[in-house]
Symmetry: C2
Subunit: 243 residues, 2 copies
């Protein structure tokens, strides 16, 4: 039987434990939602960077006019960057055909744990069905939540639970303990949009965004299956492309 | 407003973060259930030890006939020890009036994180109401799950959720993200004993016990409020007594 587990933080697993597996990385507020939006808007690829200077350097090395520099620190757009980390900023006018070089606080860091995986997908509620369709035949799936500043955050766990629920509806899965916890959290709000909203706004990650006035980003991130792209990180090239 | 949070593993918090707070430590399969049973059976006190040799030495230093040596490694009774880690072994005939010196794999280690706390209680389903009655007026409560061999285990998180639920019924609490996740897990099985059983038997900790033939210990650990003692760790003396 196939197995699915969830890791509530990147630090709760290791590259070795994820070796050879199919991964779904989730930073639903907002990195993986925003990267999905960028690809849905026609971006050629997204290049995730850990550091601000690295992002600037990579963007500068690309041919003029072919890249867009995006990301946040403390939730806010970085000085001198073209775009922040709001999914709705990534419009076709701004990103179609371009390489998006992006750095975010939690989401891009979570990708560090993935280097030995067989496949790495970026999950959100907006692309749930598209990603699940690509992975549902795999034998071993790990869903890795990015968390917020090293702490477990509710919105990532609930989103991970939506992935476990969707997989369960397509087959029989042996669930790890944390997968069960995430699934039960998702079950509690999948037919209760007020509860889903509360999980996304009162959580550690959501609360920060509400404080910064990014309520519209939370609304966007809660919209199930509005994008049909499945973002996949090509590990050797270190590029995220729509698969 | 008072706050309650849950830590799914001891390693997800620090002594400093727990400084001055009221703690409930949970290793429901089986250390905190068994320690509760020992005190309910009339044990004078329980002395938790990290290492086997330390437990042997402390027991040997007590006056002859006044102590009982208990605990497990890999779930099994330790060679030369009087008792293992099954709650039903701790009968009045064996432990009444005695000092129980105990060492277990996960539960006693979780106590390491507690040294700066204001109060440390040991929680289980068997003493839920008794412990909650002692702590419900406190301003800041952290529930620390012991986990199994460094991994999150479902039965501890569900039990932590029962504590959050019980506190919620007595007052208004601001819940951390992990407290919400634990509470939702508890809500999903509090009126569904088959689901509670499945959470206790299929979990990382429960599965080990079923393999070892300790099903009866799981039955015991699932029984709500059968004991009226509230075990409290006196930090300076490093003794657990009924409070």
């Amino acid at each position: 039987m196939s197995t699915v587990d969830v890791h509530f933080l990147p630090s709760l697993t290791t590259p070795e434990a994820l070796s050879g597996a199919t991964l779904v990385v989730i930073d639903v507020l907002r990195a993986t939602t925003t990267i999905t939006a960028a690809l849905a808007a026609g971006a050629k690829e997204v290049i995730p960077c850990f550091e601000i200077d690295e992002a600037r350097r990579i963007a500068a090395e690309l041919p003029p006019g072919t890249s867009v520099l995006g990301g946040e620190r403390g939730g806010k757009r970085i000085d001198g960057f073209d775009l922040g980390n709001s999914p709705t900023e990534y419009t076709p006018e701004r990103v179609a055909g371009k390489s998006v070089v992006i750095t975010t606080t939690n989401g891009t860091k979570a990708l560090r744990q993935c280097r030995l995986a067989a496949e790495v997908w970026l999950g959100s509620l907006t692309n749930l069905g598209s990603v699940v369709a690509r992975i549902s035949a795999k034998p071993t799936i790990h869903v890795v939540c990015a968390g917020t500043d090293g702490h477990i955050t509710l919105e990532d766990v609930v989103t991970a639970g939506y992935f476990v629920l969707a997989l369960n509806r397509l087959g029989d899965w042996t669930e790890g303990d944390s997968a069960i916890l995430a699934r039960v959290a998702a079950e509690s709000c999948e037919n209760d949009s007020a509860r889903l909203r509360s999980n996304f706004t009162q959580s550690r990650g959501g609360h920060n965004l509400v404080e910064l006035g990014y309520d519209a980003d939370i609304d966007y991130a809660m919209r199930l299956d509005i994008n049909s792209v499945a973002p996949r990180l090509e590990l050797k090239e270190w590029r995220i492309r729509s698969a």
